[in-house]
Structures are given as structure tokens and as C-alpha cells.
């Protein structure tokens, strides 16, 4: 029920964004996450963007995981 899926913001009009979710364009409310720009990824829950997805943090986590895995 707390499912959240990442999608890429393609277009913004007022507080609604067109978001690419696995190739499908969906209208997503930005009421809870207004400071988002075209090209960024957002986490979507029941038709709302609830948080921006931070690409830098994702890369850092993956780098850390690679190092942890290699250090074995």
C-alpha cells in the first residue's frame, strides 16, 4: 500500500506534472513536492509526487555498495 515508484518529470503545468513511468505518461500532483523541475525524477505514491529522487545520492549508495562487495 505504501508503494512508491520513480518517474521522470517531462512537463509541468501549475501543480501537475506529466511524468514518464516506465514509458507511460501520467498526470501527477505536485502539491506535496512543488520544487521539482523538468528532467528530474520523483517518487510517486497514489498519484502524488512525495519526494524528489536524488541521483547523486543514488550513485553514492551504489558506489558504496560496490566497494563493500569488492572488499570481501
Amino acid at each position: 500500500m505504501c508503494l512508491g515508484i520513480p518517474g521522470k518529470v517531462i512537463e509541468i503545468e501549475k501543480n501537475v506534472a506529466k511524468v514518464d513511468v516506465g514509458g507511460l505518461l501520467r498526470d501527477i500532483s505536485l502539491d506535496l513536492c512543488p520544487e521539482v523541475s523538468v528532467g528530474e525524477y520523483v517518487l510517486i505514491h497514489t498519484g502524488f509526487a512525495i519526494q524528489k529522487v536524488d541521483e547523486e545520492e543514488a550513485k553514492e549508495t551504489l558506489d558504496l555498495l560496490r566497494k563493500m562487495a569488492e572488499a570481501i
Partner: protein, 358 residues
């Protein structure tokens, strides 16, 4: 980067498993609170690849499952009233109440509709003049801000025929209740990633500061889950207890302040009634003025006395005290086609997950 496939890398997963095996010495019980984690853990076979002395318990993190029969019975009673439309999220339809379910009532001709988003309830209300539309609102902190937005918009747009049956829950007080339980020995929590995008880390600090247990806010892909478990094990073996974030790409210490503002504009904390866990202080919400006008508690409706199947173990399963395998009904009478309890209905319910993957 798509933020999904990258976190399913097999080589990195193997490295993480080896690391967990190397670091982990003492027997531990970790609880994954969130039903989405339970599904991930089973789908990727994570229980089977961990050392035997790391035991994962499934907790009460499925909103459908923790909704008490009394709320379902109220929704059913409302659906039987004249000119009434009930709207809710899909999983609630099949959950058995004391003697019926919303799905059975729909088959009897009641106007009950499934929505994907709270905003659809607004649209249905606008299109249903002359009828009362009741949104049966369930969910944790991930969903509550979206329900708050619907309430705020309904007020702004002067939609007067939309009402809410509020059965939402707050996760941190349930964790406190689990920590206080004498029946469970929880050594660490795998905290729910999406609830925490809203809450941040502050509401969980009591877990480490007052109860000396580590907790890690964890994502849902297999590398996230293994990383979260690894972070917990490293804390436990080093005798540390902190609230840490594994799921850094969407969770920050401060959470989502805008979403929190929306919740507390509309609601204030109140006692919550959980299936299995009972009444827990501050684990639910009540409406603030002027939004209390939209509460179905103002309706005059007779509800049947609530009762549960005497042999259903959902209550114990939700607390991690028993597993579905200990339930006499599991797979014999109770299965996804004929669910006796809510844990078999929701795709995130522990019984449903055991049925699919065990």
C-alpha cells in the same frame, strides 16, 4: 539511471551477503515493519540466503491488514444507506468485515467504487450531486498527506457532499507498542522507506535513545534490503544503536516538511485502533476544525457488533508473534480466493506473501 535495475545487481548482492555472513556472529531478530519490505524479502529469497541465526519478523506494516473490523462494518453499514457512494483503495474491497465485505455489498447493488488516488474521490463527489460520497481512508504517513490534500481541496472548492471514514494510522507509536511488548524480542528495525520519505528520522529517535535498538530506514530493491540488514548487523555487532538512513536517494533527516504541514493542517494525533495491537495512544488521527464537518462520525448509522473469525491468527501475525504457518486456516480454508482475514487479502499481507512465496 532508472533507480530500479541498478539496485538489483547480482554480483553486488553476493558481496553484501558474504559481508553479512562475515560480520554477523550473534543470533538476532530483526523486524521489517512494512508490508512492501515483506514482499521484497520473499520475492528475492532473502530469508533463505541469510545466516540461520538472523531471523526476520514481519510486522504490522500493511494498512489494510491493521484496519479493525469495526471500521469495515461501519463502511458496510454506510454503503447500505440511501444515496450513498463509498470510495476506497482496491484492497479494502475484499477484506471481510464481521458478516460481509464491501465486495459482497457491491454485488448486492451498493454504489462502492475503487480509486487509485484521493483526488478521484473529489471528482466523484463533484459528479454525484444529491448523493453523499464517503472516502474510506486508510494508510500510513505515506498516504496521509495525499488524503489531507483532498480534504483541503474539498474545503477550498466548497464540495459539501464529500465525507471521510478515517482509519489512517501512524507508524512510530506502533513501533513503541512493539518495543514494549513482552512477547517479542526485537534487536533492530528495518524501517519503512516510503513512510520515512514523509517522516524523516526524528520520530524514530526513541528506538535508539530510549530502547537501545538500532533502526535503519531501508529501500525496497534487493540491494537496498541487503544493505539495510548489513547496516543493522554492523550496529548490533559493534553494540551501537542509531537511526540510520540506507535509502538516501529519497529519505532525508527532515522528511518532507510540506507533506507534514498538510497532515497537521487537517488532523491532530489521537488514539488509533489496530487489528491485533488494539488501541495505541497517538497512533491515529482525528479531524481538526473546520475539517471535522467531513467526518462520518457525525452520521447517524447503526453498525452491527464487531466480531472476528475465532481461529484467524491475523492479530498475532501482525505483531510478529506467530507466522501464518502456525494458523490452522492457512492454505486449507484461507487462501487468496477465499480470504478469512485481511492478511490474506492484501498483496502486502504477510499471509498472502507466505502463500505466494513460502
Amino acid at each position: 539511471m532508472k533507480f530500479i535495475d541498478e539496485f538489483r545487481n547480482k554480483e553486488i548482492a553476493e558481496g553484501l551477503i558474504q559481508r553479512i555472513r562475515r560480520v554477523s556472529i550473534r543470533p538476532v531478530q530483526l523486524m521489517e515493519v512494512c508490508g512492501t519490505h515483506t514482499v521484497s524479502i520473499f520475492r528475492y529469497g532473502i530469508r533463505g540466503i541469510l545466516p540461520e541465526h538472523i531471523r526476520l519478523l514481519s510486522g504490522p506494516g500493511c494498512p489494510v491488514c491493521v484496519t479493525p473490523n469495526s471500521d469495515i462494518d461501519l463502511a458496510i453499514a454506510l454503503s447500505r444507506q440511501k444515496d450513498m457512494v463509498i470510495v476506497t483503495f482496491g484492497d479494502m474491497m475484499r477484506v471481510p468485515g464481521s458478516t460481509s465485505s464491501l465486495q459482497k455489498e457491491k454485488a448486492e447493488g451498493r454504489d462502492i467504487r475503487i480509486v487509485y488516488s484521493s483526488l478521484e474521490a473529489l471528482k466523484i463527489a463533484k459528479e454525484s450531486l444529491g448523493k453523499k460520497v464517503v472516502f474510506f481512508a486508510i494508510g500510513f504517513e505515506t498516504t496521509s498527506p495525499t488524503i489531507a490534500v483532498a480534504l483541503i481541496r474539498a474545503k477550498e472548492e466548497k464540495i459539501r457532499n464529500l465525507f471521510f471514514l478515517n482509519s489512517q494510522k501512524r507508524i512510530p507509536p506502533a513501533l513503541l507498542a512493539l518495543l514494549q511488548s513482552k512477547q517479542l524480542g526485537i534487536d533492530g528495525f528495518i524501517l519503512p522507506g516510503h513512510v520515512s520519505t514523509i517522516l524523516g528520522t526524528k520520530p524514530y529517535q526513541f528506538i535508539s535513545k530510549e530502547y537501545g535498538r538500532p533502526a535503519v530506514i531501508t529501500g525496497f530493491e534487493p540491494l537496498d534490503v541487503l544493505h539495510g540488514i548489513s547496516m543493522l548487523i554492523e550496529q548490533i555487532e559493534a553494540k551501537r544503536a542509531h537511526v540510520e538512513i540506507q535509502y538516501r536517494r529519497v529519505v532525508h533527516d527532515e522528511g518532507n516538511p510540506m507533506a507534514l504541514r498538510k497532515i497537521y493542517e487537517v488532523f491532530e494525533e489521537d488514539e488509533g485502533n489496530w487489528r491485533g495491537l488494539g488501541l495505541i495512544p497517538n497512533s491515529g488521527y482525528r479531524f481538526k476544525e473546520p475539517y471535522n464537518e467531513m467526518d462520518v462520525k457525525n452520521f447517524d448509522v447503526e453498525v452491527e457488533p464487531s466480531k472476528e473469525h475465532p481461529e484467524c491468527l491475523c492479530g498475532e501475525v501482525l505483531q510478529g508473534i506467530k507466522t501464518p504457518l502456525e494458523c490452522r486456516l492457512f492454505k486449507k480454508v484461507c487462501h487468496p480466493e477465499n480470504p478469512i482475514g485481511p492478511c490474506m487479502v492484501s498483496i502486502e499481507g504477510t499471509c498472502h506473501t507466505y502463500f505466494n512465496y513460502q
